[in-house]
Subunit: 185 residues, 2 copies
């Protein structure tokens, strides 16, 4: 189930949220449930096991909240967990990642600034830009080659893919510009 070295996308999302602040499993579930965060699962059967996996790996530690009211297990990042998060975010962008809908990229990028600073964000963006160009040109080749054999709906579907990536490239340049002008100030 796509564990590139043993840590899931969901697990990285959890690490990212815990980086902001220590939380309980229930808190995390609610974040996924309400904010449509890249559409992760908010089911307890996904989150609680994932948290325990992270604990087993030494990336988080959980302790019962002292004293007050309800039973609550607060989970927080360890140094090792922070390191893992930092490392995962700074990974170079691959074409495969772009083809498989780039949920992973967007999560990494969204976290990059808080966790690694703007230089990491910019690095990711320029990596994306480069790989995107390659993907786009091969996508356009495929489109040209297949067009005559497809029904209108088929070639329109392909076109939506190409347009999507073109739009992404524009966004990428926009984002780079935003970082540049932020640096000027």
């Amino acid at each position: 189930m796509s564990q590139r070295g043993g840590t899931t996308l969901l697990e990285h999302a959890l690490l990212g949220l815990l980086y902001e602040k220590p939380s309980s499993g229930y808190d995390l579930r609610k974040i996924f449930a309400t904010t449509s965060m890249g559409s992760f699962s908010d089911s307890p059967g996904a989150i609680y096991p994932a948290l325990r996996r992270l604990e087993r790996k030494g990336f988080v530690q959980s302790r019962a909240q002292a004293g007050s009211g309800r039973r609550r297990q607060v989970v927080s990042l360890t140094d090792q967990g922070t390191a893992e998060l930092r490392n995962w975010i700074a990974q170079p962008v691959t074409q495969q990642e772009i083809m498989s809908e780039l949920r992973e990229f967007m999560l990494r990028f969204a976290l990059s600034e808080s966790v690694g600073g703007p230089a990491v964000s910019v690095e990711l963006l320029s990596g994306l830009k480069q790989e995107l160009k390659a993907v786009l040109s091969s996508l356009r080749d495929q489109q040209k080659a297949l067009k005559p054999y497809l029904p209108l709906s088929g070639s329109l579907a392909l076109e939506s893919g190409v347009r999507g990536h073109e739009g992404l490239l524009e966004w990428c340049e926009h984002a780079l510009a935003a970082y540049e002008s932020a640096a000027d100030r």
Copy 2:
């Protein structure tokens, strides 16, 4: 594992390919491996079991290719399989489907014209358009609400989502126009 009624996205993709022409598991694998078809798995451990599931459900039947050379198990759609495909394609578009990256929508749409005719394609497009507008406005609300609390990379990531959906809306109108002008001729 997201089986809305028992049939996977991969399984539907296989049905779609078999609708075009009967093929062996190996053929299908190669299609996934070479054409980056929405990025489905080309692993035998995914495809052969999926084909057997489809057979169990009565959607396909497989027979050894007669005579010649290499061993080859050719799989073809049954009437029941065609019905399932047709039915799945014509399902209304949901917001949830849009949020979860619309791989499913695009597959349905790509197949819609061959399997159901242009009217079905147009129906899907106008369904998408309508739901997209709803999704977009709630997305923009969320963006506005969260912006002040996020680092630049976070709000840029959100913006990429919004832009992506805006681009999709444009594509949607473009596609509708294409069908209109095709109907005129």
